[in-house]
Amino acid sequence: MSRGKLLEVRGLEVAYGGIRAVQGVDLAVAAGEIVALIGANGAGKTTTLKALCGLLRPKSGSLHYEGADVTGKPAYHLVRKGLSLVPEGRGVFPLLTVAENLAMGAYIRNDHDAIRNDFDRVYALFARLAERRNQLAGTLSGGEQQMLAIGRAMMSRPRLLLLDEPSMGLAPLMVQKIFETVRAIAAEGVTLLLVEQNARLALETCSRGYVMESGRVVLEDSAAALLASPRVRQAYLGE
């Protein structure tokens, strides 16, 4: 267990019944870093994130968070420690209002004054959500749902935020907006692990990156080096 690592994953294996989706992933994120995890469809990125946040139990391997072994700990435990996931496909509660969704984000907290401030902060960040605070989340547009999912994760005051394809299905302008927000969150000192299909955008946002193929990490380097790597340029940047 090396020092200074907020999250450290060793030999992670995750299987769905007989399907071995993640086959021995090593990965580490230091406090304050912004790290990208890229890879083709089905490479095992979502599965990795789900195992990190406690939604899936690893078949083998270990997870250390803030220096403590948290292997096999459930999601509701990890979020109390500041580890939060914005899931793929947003996962807003469709029959709760925008405000109720945000309140769910603050479920683990009881510092009511600070929570009220954080509501205002999210509404300031996403004016669209402020206008729609009493609307059911299921009736929001895809982009608005993504804002809500990010805002909701912020309400838990995470230390480490895992983002699973925040740009999925969004128009370019909305993608810009979401990534601006992601950078703003990072600037506040939140550590980020970002999964993205849009590899260029991800690597331009992050300082370091991992490339996954068929359940394994095949490349790991600084974002600049990955952007320059012929293998990445050919397979993920469409050059």
Binding site: A75, G91, L95, A103, Y107
Partner: protein
Amino acid sequence: MEIFTQQLINGLVLGSIYALVALGYTMVYGILGLINFAHGDITMIGALVALTVVQALAAAGVPAPLVLVLAGGCAILVCSLLGLSIERVAYRPLRRAPRLAPLITAIGVSILLQYSAALIWGKQYIALPKLIEPAAINIGGAQMTTLQLAIFVLACAIMAVLLWFIKASRMGRAMRATEQNPDVAGLMGVNTNAVIAFTFVLGSAIGAVAGLMVVLYYGIGHYFMGFMLGLKAFTAAVLGGIGNVGGAVMGGLLLGIIESMASGYIGDLTGGVLGSNYRDIFAFLVLVLVLVIKPSGLMGQAGGDRA
């Protein structure tokens, strides 16, 4: 007209009891997608526990209001523990099993509860000792007893508090979130197993109160009484839109009224061929009609079923 008013009163009182039991079905269905067929029998256990407490205390000369509170308290305690254990032992291990498995288990638990009750209390009807002499109030030519009024008011109060709780409290919000997406609720920090267990306890406790009300209203209890009560409450839940708490309240009241009206007028309508003892037919007629015409119920949202 008197018959109408009278049957309306009877129907509202009966319906408020159905509604309380229907809430237990609908809350569990909402959160697990499971029809807990044992719920009627949990209510029966509550009724028989309450009866036993009343028998013991009334004979000892304890004042009636205290007897009622203690009977209700014991019933709530026993049913809550029962609901908690049933969820833990019978349903939780089957959480990810195909839907048929927990359904069959539910029927098994129902039979287990019935025959356990038969062992403890016997198979004969148990009569409620005289506790209170309800006075009658005259409403538009019809009679409403103070007992009926008390049942109706208490049931409505419980339902109002429950609806508020689910709508506005932190736990209620966690229940709705768990219902809509248990994984994401977990990501928010909700211990979904605890929320599901809590839902069973809440439904069972409310069922216990309904059990006490049935015993007071009809003056008897029986190990098999949960079957018919459960089926009717289930019908009420389906009528309102299963999974919808407001729907369970409306479905319960509506079913009570339909049943009372029908039993009040069935003699006239059939020229005396069928008597009011055929009232039970109507509940099931309603169930079949709802399932054929609008399976999502009166307040169910179309496609809201996570089948």
